[in-house]
């Protein structure tokens, strides 16, 4: 349910205002990045400098925040300094629930503070506070410090990477949950905004339109989560339990996407790490899956790296030590770096160095050097300054072509389109760039079906039908960005329909969920077109289109064919 209030915080003018949006915006755009994209288009942020004070950050919860299972995520949105287009990234932890229960659906942050600042929020409003003492500190140090200063609070903080405008700097929330992608941490840094702390001030209690039916829908969904293999795997071993299976399918990128077999997946997977170092389960507030884990290694506690991190710093860089990956993950999170973009960018540096196309002084397999480079990147020192720009700009600067593993400037994540063909069109057309979330096409290729919308794969190494099912899945999956619900929840359209209807009272049938998702997807597309990041960027780099051995069986997706079908299905012009 909605609190009906949004904060507007101007860091330049040092004022805070309470906005009460019209009911219509909630009804039409639901919440999360649905409402955010509407607000951004109204504010014309697409025409702004991403590092300029006029680039607004819109942070939104959704109607189910704090009410339904695994709806504890919050969306951070802004024009991306990495992609120069639509930027969004969500993260779990406690922030979303603390914000909603304090009576706020979200916030719009504009301007730029003259000095380092942080924002403190409770039910009375927000206060802009000095953060000189926090500037230069890691994310973990900042979170720790603010929890001391503000008492029981949820904190979202940037590290040195965000302060130094590393284009893929992330925001870390509470217990190591990351809003990783599209450089939202760098936008915070450009505003001299170190952190947001929301006090545990539970004065707002969401009232459901039909509490009894809502709880019935919650129980049904909880039952489905309990029966889900994927959810159970994440619960027991985290997302990294998939590493060995990924290698079997050829989905695990190896040596900067140039090889298909790592052969050491079992040394970097979370199955390996959990067996040796598991200490306790961890995760987001109100989530029964709890995919986060805390490890004890070398006498210290660490967070278990996610699948994406195990692959982006492991197989992609030929690092075969799970223990090194624990340390690398901790360091990257401390510094506030997106582990996907950072791993891929370092992989590109290793590749260019090996091929004598440039000399970044780093070789595949060198874990110690990677740790050193993380610090250099976060502080933009030596080679780190160029690597802080991401793969697209490195390629442009060196006058190369097809080597940078990105789409629209966002580095390709750790699911290989040669293993699951629909990822080709999904990456090429995804609004925030190459991204595996929330469309989940790799899961569709592994057997996930959405019967209501006719989403079913014809085979993971087939091109036929992939344009259509990807477009359909993108439309459906926008609902997860709006709610904001974790995509690990195996919710069917009918579940979401019931939850929305019985909480808000709005009539959201499965058909309406789909059509609203399509509208929101198209609005983000429009945002990209207005930013100059539209159709001409619907393409994959050559580096992921060469045949490799292993689970991909040497096959390569036909991107052109998939795109043609995709455009036809969406009714867009089909010219390339």
């Amino acid at each position: 349910m909605y609190a009906g209030r949004i904060l507007k915080i101007d860091l330049s003018e040092n004022y805070v205002k309470e906005l009460r949006p019209d009911d219509k915006i909630y009804r039409e755009f639901i919440g999360g990045s649905g409402i955010a994209v509407k607000l951004h288009l109204d504010m014309e942020s697409h025409s702004k400098d991403p590092y300029g004070p006029e680039n607004p950050v819109v942070i939104m919860t959704g109607p189910l925040t704090g009410s339904a299972p695994s709806c504890s995520k919050i969306q951070f949105t802004a024009k991306s300094p990495l992609t120069l287009g639509w930027g969004e990234s969500n993260a779990g932890g406690k922030l979303a629930i603390y914000l909603k229960r304090a009576g706020w659906d979200g916030m719009i942050i504009v301007g730029k503070s003259r000095r380092p600042a942080y924002i403190h929020i409770d039910s009375n409003g927000a206060e802009i506070k000095k953060a000189d003492h926090l500037w230069g500190k890691t994310t973990y140090e900042t979170i720790e410090e603010l929890k001391k200063e503000e008492g029981n609070a949820s904190v979202a903080a940037i590290g040195p990477a965000g302060e130094n405008l590393v284009r893929y700097a992330c925001i870390i929330l509470d217990n190591s949950r990351a809003a990783g992608r599209t450089g939202m941490g760098a936008v915070f840094g450009s505003k001299m905004l170190k952190a947001i702390a929301v006090s545990r001030d539970f004065t707002f209690s969401p009232e459901m339109a039909d509490p009894e039916k809502f709880m019935k829908a919650v129980r049904e969904l909880a039952g489905r989560v309990k029966d889900s293999f994927t959810a159970n795997m994440f619960k027991e071993v985290g997302t990294g339990g998939y590493v060995e299976s990924a290698e079997m399918f050829g989905d695990l990128p190896v040596k900067y996407f140039t090889e298909g077999e790592f052969g050491k997946a079992d040394r970097i997977s979370s199955n390996y790490l959990i067996e040796r170092y598991f200490r306790r389960h961890d995760g987001c507030m109100g989530c029964s899956i709890k995919c986060g884990k805390v490890l004890e290694y070398g006498g210290k506690e660490y967070h278990l790296p996610e699948y994406e991190t195990l692959a982006s710093f492991g197989s992609l860089l030929l690092i075969d030590s799970g223990e090194s990956l624990i340390e690398i993950n901790h360091l990257a999170n401390s510094l506030g770096l997106d582990t996907i973009s950072c791993g891929v960018t370092i992989g590109m540096a290793m590749y260019l160095t090996e091929k004598n196309l440039a000399d970044f002084g780093i070789k595949f397999g060198d874990a110690e050097k990677v740790k050193e480079y993380l610090k250099l990147i976060a502080c933009r020192q030596n080679h780190g300054d160029m690597l802080a720009e991401g793969t697209m700009r490195i390629e442009e600067k060196l006058g190369l072509n097809g080597i940078a593993a990105h789409v629209r400037g966002l580095e390709i994540p750790m699911h290989d389109p040669r293993a699951f063909f629909s990822l080709a069109v999904a990456y090429a057309t995804n609004n925030r760039g190459a991204c595996h979330l929330p469309h989940q096409m790799y899961n569709v290729e592994m057997g996930l079906r959405i019967r209501e919308y006719g989403i079913e794969s014809s085979g993971r190494l087939e091109n036929d039908g992939k344009g259509e099912i990807t477009a359909k899945m993108q439309n459906f999956a926008e609902i997860f960005n709006c709610l904001v619900m974790c995509v690990f929840v195996p919710a069917k359209p009918s579940h979401i329909s019931s939850l929305l209807k019985f909480s808000t009272g709005f009539d959201y049938s499965p058909e309406k969920i789909y059509s609203t998702g399509e509208k929101i997807f198209n609005l983000k597309r429009k945002y990209n077109e207005l930013s100059g990041r539209g159709k001409e960027h619907d393409r994959l780099p050559d580096i992921v289109l060469h045949p490799v051995s292993g689970g991909t069986e040497g096959k390569v997706p036909d991107v052109r064919k998939q795109l043609q079908e995709y455009y036809d299905f969406r009714g867009w012009t089909s010219e390339f």
Binding site: D227, S228, F229, T230, N232, M233, E236, V237, G241, Y242, E244, S245, E247, M248, F249, D266, S269, S270, N271, Y272, I274, E275, N443, M446, G447, L448, R449
Partner: protein, 136 residues
């Protein structure tokens, strides 16, 4: 032609499996026994149970189980008969079967997920047996 999950079928399966160098390599450190459960559906009247003890890349023992409470395996893998047929015909693989909810797995997830390739070979070996499928 042996019937699926009969004693004769299991004997043949163990023979093929123990001849597979690919399986021996993929499961060289594996230790753990399985109960495979075939749940009845419109094509099968009664459930079927098979016990299989897998150890260091070999099958040490295997037999038909009449009462599942008689065994205490480390892992249980179960699914409907029609899905078992799809698995053995190669229409789905074990990981896809689990992700799509066609099969359920009980046991130590951290351990079993490390052997995704071995699981795939277990099914590929079953596909080599000329199998007669029981009918209602």
């Amino acid at each position: 032609m042996p019937e699926l999950f009969s004693e004769e079928w299991i004997r043949e399966y163990i023979k093929f499996l123990n001849e597979s160098s690919e399986y021996q390599e993929a499961a060289r450190d594996w230790e753990g026994d399985f109960l495979f459960v075939v749940e009845p559906d419109e094509e099968l009247e009664r459930p079927m149970y098979v016990y299989l003890d897998l150890h260091h890349g070999k099958a040490r023992n295997g037999y038909v189980v009449n009462d599942p409470s008689e065994v205490n395996p480390a892992f249980e893998f179960r699914g409907k008969y029609s899905n078992w047929k799809k698995l053995i015909y190669g229409e789905i693989d074990p990981i896809k079967g689990l992700v799509s909810g066609k099969f359920k797995l009980k046991g130590n997830m951290a351990k079993v997920m490390r052997y995704a390739r071995a699981a795939k070979i277990l099914v590929e070996v079953a596909q080599k047996i000329e199998t007669r499928f029981p009918e209602k």
